[in-house]
Amino acid sequence: MSGADWLSYSLQDFVMFGPQVFLRLFVRINQDLWPWQVLAVIAAIGIPVLLLRQGRNARRLAVGLIAVAWAVSGYGFLVGYFGPINWPAVWFGWAFVAQGVLLAAAMFSGGVREAALPSGRFVALWLIVVCGLPLLAVAESGQWQAVALFGIAPGTTAAAGALIVALITGPWRWLYLPVLVLWSLFSAAILWVLQAWWLLVTPVATLLLVGAGFWLSPRPARSLD
């Protein structure tokens, strides 16, 4: 096909499903997983508690839970539910699994900071993300069963995962960013086509939270010289 042909395509031409089918994905995965969502909620609330505790093990456990959340939401939601109606979602699903593996590797290779976080701001942002963003799918669909929980729904998981940029150091941090950015752009494009305006907040928030992650990152101690 020529360049002019490609230019004649619009975003709509690449989204082969409707909003009803997309919102039903959240309902279906919640119905199929019930009652295991309770574990996802406990993890979402427990992670900031673990991160704020002193000690390497608590931090490792918190980061490990976030790594698991990436992998589960990627394989479960994106590969298992979204992939059959939208094949690029399968690629993103495996990218989410890789992101979880990357985070775990960073954790065991010294790529996660030991320094304390600015606790108040981090906890506030984390709780807004894991408690607020899941409700956007409810607002969009009008169904409580569509709640997009951290560790299950990829959008909420990526948004919360963006905050962890604050903890990752060196090259690990740069390796961690592409999936966050690409996923945000991909999901924003789809939600724009579907005119799912409430849900569109999630990828926008994810990109802003990447910035917040840098902002919350503990500064190296200043030299007295």
């Binding site: 096909m1 042909d5 004649s8 395509y9 709509q12 031409d13 082969m16 499903f17 409707g18 009803q20 089918v21 039903r24 994905l25 279906r28 539910y81 059959p84 109606i85 939208n86 094949w87």
Partner: protein, 311 residues
């Protein structure tokens, strides 16, 4: 004179009504004049006729493994068959739509009722047969009635294989597709020199470019025409359905906007059928309304186009 309904008359009429609903083709005529029979169009160069309203599956049948929505789409398909439709068009590009269609056909035990049309959608020109076989398995049909090269992607290689497949009886008809008005010049060149049974293109009351070249060429070359995007992807409804129909709509055989848009298309003498897509039973009923009753004549078609432009 009082017209009393006797038990005998009631039973006879009920029986006839039942047969008509079950087998609308028995009552079909190909002129489209009788209000009670579906409007049929002959496939050029054959003695086979198709109902002038078919069904597309773009977006609407891509529901994945959602059992509830699969059942709902099955009801949409059942309504389509019950109201006289047979032509169903899909593409491997449409995600899970082929699997959902297969499930729906199985549920309705309707493999022998469907005129199954799909597309070859791969840039690998050696994959024609393999992709057709994959689609056959997904639809649950032994062979397709119509295989089309999707948006001219790899058309040279695919068309050669499709011609062989047709000669071997692996497919009944072959064709090419385009949409959104793309690559019409190349499309016309292929129509001029290749032995096509069908072309599929975009045509509706606002997108009328094909009236100038492609539709006359299809008539001249004896090629059937399947029309996609008859509602311009739904935007015609979004733009016009809040407006009242013109006073003269009834004279053109039109009682709602779906019929207005569809009858405009199928009243073009080159068009074999239009393939609107819907996910709702009610909308399917409205679409299939266009399969019955009178069609607008040439003057009325012009008035229809002028009316829409004036809104």
């Amino acid at each position: 004179m009082a017209n009393r309904i006797t038990r005998r008359k009631f039973l006879i009429n009920s029986g006839l009504a039942g047969i008509a609903l079950k087998s609308p083709m028995l009552f079909a005529n190909t002129s489209g004049n009788a209000a009670s029979s579906p409007i049929m169009r002959r496939i050029p160069g054959t003695n086979e006729s198709l109902p002038a309203i078919g069904m597309g599956t773009w977006i609407t049948f891509n529901v994945g493994g959602d059992t509830q929505l699969v059942q709902q789409r099955t009801r949409v398909l059942k309504t389509f068959f019950d109201l006289g439709g047979i032509v169903v068009d899909g593409s491997p590009m449409y995600g899970s739509a082929a699997d959902v269609m297969g499930e729906a056909l199985n549920s309705l035990d309707a493999h022998d009722r469907v005129f199954a049309a799909t597309k070859i959608w791969t840039g690998d020109e050696s994959e024609t047969r393999a992709e057709a076989a994959r689609s056959s398995r997904r639809w649950g049909v032994e062979r397709f009635d119509l295989l089309q090269v999707h948006n001219l992607l790899g058309w040279q290689g695919h068309l050669e294989t499709l011609k062989q497949m047709k000669a071997n009886g692996e497919v009944r008809y072959i064709g090419i597709t385009t949409s959104h008005g793309r690559r019409h010049r190349e499309f016309a060149q292929i129509m001029e020199r290749e032995p096509l049974d069908f072309v599929q293109l975009t045509y509706n009351v606002l997108d009328r470019e094909v009236e100038d070249r492609l539709l006359p060429l299809a008539r001249e070359r004896g090629i059937g025409v399947i029309v996609n995007r008859p509602f311009q992807g739904g935007s015609l409804f979004r733009r016009f359905q809040s407006e009242p129909l013109p006073d003269w709509a009834g004279e053109a055989g039109v009682s709602n906007w779906a019929e207005f848009f569809l009858k405009y298309i199928i009243s073009h003498p080159a068009v074999t059928c239009a393939i609107p897509a819907t996910s709702k039973v009610e909308h399917m009923k409205e679409n299939m309304g266009a399969l019955y009753g009178p069609l607008p004549d040439a003057d009325q078609r012009e008035r229809m186009a002028d009316f829409v432009r004036s809104l």
